[in-house]
């Protein structure tokens, strides 16, 4: 009888034991991402890019020793949120970053915002945070969610494609994607279909595509969803008659590796490619291949750029990250050499940059890669900045 009380008290004390006091001059970063499951390939790429940049800086951020806590949100918003709560409240990190998917980010990032902490997004950048709900604590390093889709829509218009069938998963980024495409595509939309997030068998949807006979098919199906779709699309025999266009992140190295030769000739749009000619990118690609024995994808470049941004900002405020306003200014200034060339933030903390048309071909060593073909947009921001009240 007595035993139970002492056991519970002891257990409680063990749990309540105060954590070691955080060293004041160490930069702590909370890195939450999807690292497992078919949706996890992207998170792994971002993490690897981030870690590479950190390694090349000798494990230091802004010249100060650093610690990166890595957590797996398992593609579940509530897990991401719990991790965010732990990193923000228990581990008391200085920056939160890493999340791949917009729905998880929208659940987790508010914990950083409430604690007056910066969330630097290496991927997810949904439209509400670019416009009306723009947030001084949020910085998007990659691209506004719509951007690649707008570029693709523009390409479809320029190429004169008469009818396009649209498919995306049913979540915020999915909706953003097709909105973006439609913003610049002036032809006929054969159909607009939203699949279940995480769905992997598209037999039913593909049958519908076949019946609709569009000239082109535009899909936004990141990660494992896209891999399966492209495989099944090719298996159905429709790839001969229907042009497949995807946004660049649906057809980068993480998809090329599992799908293979079936992707030759596929067109996609992106803000970055392996062959972009600037010194930062050349260094990045070479080091990445040396370290991880594989070619980097666009996501890896984003993770890399995110680390460089945080590093540059900390360096800019000379390690005094407690001054949040100064840190924000430093983040805005973005004084670093990005893999995409020059880097500039818009006043809503989303980037302004070029977008290119890419095609999948073979490089000098016969490997399947995305090759830059032409520039679709130059110095484009996003469609929502006018609604943002921030200066």
């Amino acid at each position: 009888m007595r035993r139970s009380i002492w056991v519970s008290l002891a257990a409680a004390c063990a749990i309540a034991a105060p954590a070691a006091a955080a060293a004041a001059d160490k930069i702590k970063v909370g890195f939450i991402s999807t690292l497992s499951g078919p949706a996890g390939a992207i998170g792994v790429e971002i993490r690897d890019g981030f870690n590479l940049a950190l390694k090349l800086a000798g494990g230091k951020i802004g010249g100060l020793p650093s610690e990166v806590l890595v957590g797996d949100d398992q593609f579940k918003p509530e897990v991401g949120r719990q991790l965010a709560e732990k990193y923000v409240k228990l581990d008391k990190v200085d920056f939160l970053t890493g999340i791949v998917y917009s729905n998880i980010m929208l659940a987790a990032a508010p914990l950083a915002f409430d604690a007056k902490m910066f969330y630097v997004s290496p991927n997810a950048a949904p439209s509400p945070l670019a416009g009306k709900q723009c947030n001084p604590w949020f910085f998007a390093v990659a691209w506004p969610n719509d951007a690649y889709h707008e570029a693709a829509g523009q390409y479809a218009t320029t190429k004169g494609l008469k009818s396009v069938y649209l498919i995306a998963p049913n979540y915020q980024a999915g909706k953003d994607s097709l909105e973006g495409f439609k913003r610049f595509y002036k032809g006929k939309i054969a159909a607009e279909v939203y699949t279940k997030l995480g769905q992997l068998d598209f037999a039913a949807e593909l049958a519908e595509v076949r019946a609709a006979k569009p000239e082109a098919l535009y899909i936004f199906l990141p990660g494992g969803m896209g891999i399966n779709f492209i495989k099944q699309f090719v298996a159905s025999g429709m790839s001969k008659d229907i042009t497949l266009i995807t946004p660049g992140f649906g057809s980068d190295q993480d998809v090329i590796r599992p799908v293979g030769e079936a992707m030759l000739g596929l067109f996609d749009t992106a803000h970055w490619a392996l062959d972009l000619d600037n010194p930062a990118n050349k260094k990045f690609v070479a080091e990445f291949e040396k370290e991880y024995k594989r070619l980097p994808s666009v996501f890896a470049s984003q993770g890399y750029d995110t680390e460089l941004l945080i590093d540059a900002a900390v360096r800019d405020v000379k390690g005094k990250i407690e001054d949040k306003d100064a840190l924000r200014k430093a983040l805005m200034a973005a004084k670093f050499q990005s893999t995409r060339g020059a880097f500039k933030f818009n006043r809503n903390h989303y980037p302004i940059q070029n977008y290119y048309l890419r095609v999948i071909g073979k490089d000098a060593q016969g490997r399947l890669v995305n090759k830059t073909m032409s520039t679709i947009f130059k110095d484009r921001g996003d469609a929502y900045v006018q609604d943002c009240p921030m200066k």
Binding site: L35, S36, G37, P38, G40, N170, K175, E192, V193, Y194, T195, K196, L200, D201, A203, A204, E205, A207, E208, R210, A211, G224, I227, N228, K231, Q232, V234, A235, S236, G237, P258, G260, A262
Partner: protein
């Protein structure tokens, strides 16, 4: 018209794969009176083993053929080592123990293989076959339908025409009586469990190139398998077949035609969300309706 035919084939394909899982599940439940939530994990193991063996042997067919007995052996080992002790326990203990087993097996697979394993589709089958003029259908899915139908036939033959099948039917119908009549129960149970595992492996291996081979892939299909055996009647293979085709069709039809219907009235995002949601709900509604009229399922094996 072509669309309807193609969707019907899709429904059939899905249903046959469900059948492979449901058959094993219904036998285990019917004969050993054990609820085995870890059945989906055997499906997952079959898929992972197939992926590895295909890579090791370089041959798709060989890889799958080897994965089947491998999974069966693992399943039987599991039965002898652990699940045996659960036969005598109440259903709640079985549910919880096998739920624990799901967690353990998921993590064990993750430790050994990582979160997923790539399984490419065999090149010969990655194109379409012209079934009717103007109606190509993926060759691989045809293979699945063919194998599924063949296994169903084989299963029926074994259960209806062989001695061991007779013992299985006797055990499903009335276990005590079968025991009294001299059936070697422990060996029969192990055999049934192994057979169930083998069926799971066939489904897992065949579906692997289409879906992703990943940790946790068993859970989603497990629920559907349970719905199937409840609809079909516990212990009845015939019921499992009817139930799984029914569920496969309802699911496919629901996923594709309901959004069309809703699309007439709602914007595309809502129609697309409502369609699959109602389709999933429909499966449970069908189950509820069938249980209302036939509380033991369509073809109950028990007397």
């Amino acid at each position: 018209m072509v669309l309807v035919l193609e969707q019907a084939l899709n429904g059939l394909q899905f249903g046959l794969m469900l059948f492979l899982l449901a058959a094993g599940l219904t036998l285990v439940f019917g004969i050993m009176d054990m609820i085995n939530l870890a059945h989906g994990s055997l499906y997952m193991l079959g898929a992972f083993l197939a992926a590895t063996l295909v890579q090791a042997t370089g041959s798709f067919a060989l890889g799958i053929l080897l994965a089947i007995p491998a999974t069966a052996v693992l399943g039987m080992a599991l039965e002898v080592a652990l699940l045996r002790t659960l036969y005598a326990r109440d259903h709640l203990s079985q549910v919880l123990a096998t739920f624990a087993l799901i967690l353990i097996l998921n993590e064990a697979v993750r430790i050994v293989w990582g979160t997923d394993a790539p399984m490419p589709m065999p090149a010969a089958l990655s194109g379409p076959v012209e079934l009717l003029p103007g109606m190509p259908y993926p060759a691989y899915r045809l293979l699945i339908i063919a194998v599924g139908a063949a296994v169903a036939l084989l299963l029926w033959l074994v259960v209806a025409k062989t001695r061991v099948g007779m013992q299985v039917r006797a055990g499903a119908s009335n276990r005590e009586m079968a025991l009294a009549l001299g059936v070697n129960v422990p060996r029969l149970f192990t055999f049934v469990f192994g057979a169930g595992a083998a069926l799971c492996a066939v489904a897992g291996a065949l579906l692997a190139p289409l879906l992703a081979v990943q940790v946790g892939m068993g859970e989603n299909i497990l629920i559907l398998a349970f719905v199937v055996i409840v609809i079909g009647g516990i212990g009845s293979i015939r019921g499992a077949l009817v139930g799984s085709i029914l569920v496969g069709m309802v699911d496919t039809v629901g996923r594709t035609f309901l959004p069309h219907l809703f699309g007439l009235a709602l914007p595309p995002q809502f129609a697309s969300a409502a369609g699959p949601a109602i389709a999933s709900v429909m499966i449970y509604l069908v189950m509820a309706v069938i249980l209302y009229f036939k509380p033991q399922g369509l073809f109950p094996a028990r007397a």
